[in-house]
Amino acid sequence: GIQVEQSPPDLILQEGANSTLRCNFSDSVNNLQWFHQNPWGQLINLFYIPSGTKQNGRLSATTVATERYSLLYISSSQTTDSGVYFCAVLRNGNKLVFGAGTILRVKS
């Protein structure tokens, strides 16, 4: 099956810093989503981005489908950005495959 690798596994930032999270996948995909999991466990949708670039406030994402990677940019980080960020892909059918996540800690 398709493999999803996220890097880095852990990231500690000072408030106000910028960061880039990476997601590599092993095959072509029909769907790619980025999620933020809050401390209570809920997965919050950040981007639905099988290809191209999108921006939402301080967050933006780029997926280069031909090179099988996606990047999530966080600018001017805030303590509320802390949590786990997941990339998930769907190749064929109905099963989203998740990466192991990036744990982000933003210190004030």
Binding site: N30, N31, Q33, F35, W40, G41, Q42, L43, N45, Y48, F86, A88, L90, N92, G93, N94, K95, L96, V97, F98, G99, A100, G101
Partner: protein, 115 residues
């Protein structure tokens, strides 16, 4: 616009018991998927329901079963609980897009502890 809702939020069971978890999809969605998330890991696909049928299944034993009702809500049943079934169970809803699944939206999850 109501999002995906799950119940109960927390529950504790003992080994060998059975559990039923419930999910109501986001308004307008017709497909429900269930995922299991063990501590420190990414969610793993259990199965998906569409038109009251199991559409696809992940690598989970038959102890895990489900149902979808005419109003698109769904239940996940786990029989003969094992300690290893302790996890966060996440429900996601979406709209079918041809043969594939569209963007998924997740509920807050049901945290199951098996003692």
């Amino acid at each position: 616009d109501a999002g995906v809702t799950q119940s109960p939020t927390h529950l504790i069971k003992t080994r060998g018991q059975q559990v039923t978890l419930r999910c109501s999809p986001k308004s307008g969605h017709d497909t429900v998927s269930w995922y299991q998330q063990a501590l420190g890991q990414g969610p793993q696909f259990i199965f998906q329901y569409y038109e009251e049928e199991e559409r696809q299944r992940g690598n989970f034993p038959d102890r895990f079963s489900g149902h979808q009702f005419p109003n698109y809500s769904s239940e996940l049943n786990v029989n003969a609980l094992l300690l290893g079934d302790s996890a966060l169970y996440l429900c996601a809803s979406s709209l079918v897009q041809g043969s594939n699944t569209g963007e998924l939206f997740f509920g807050e999850g049901s945290r199951l502890t098996v003692l």
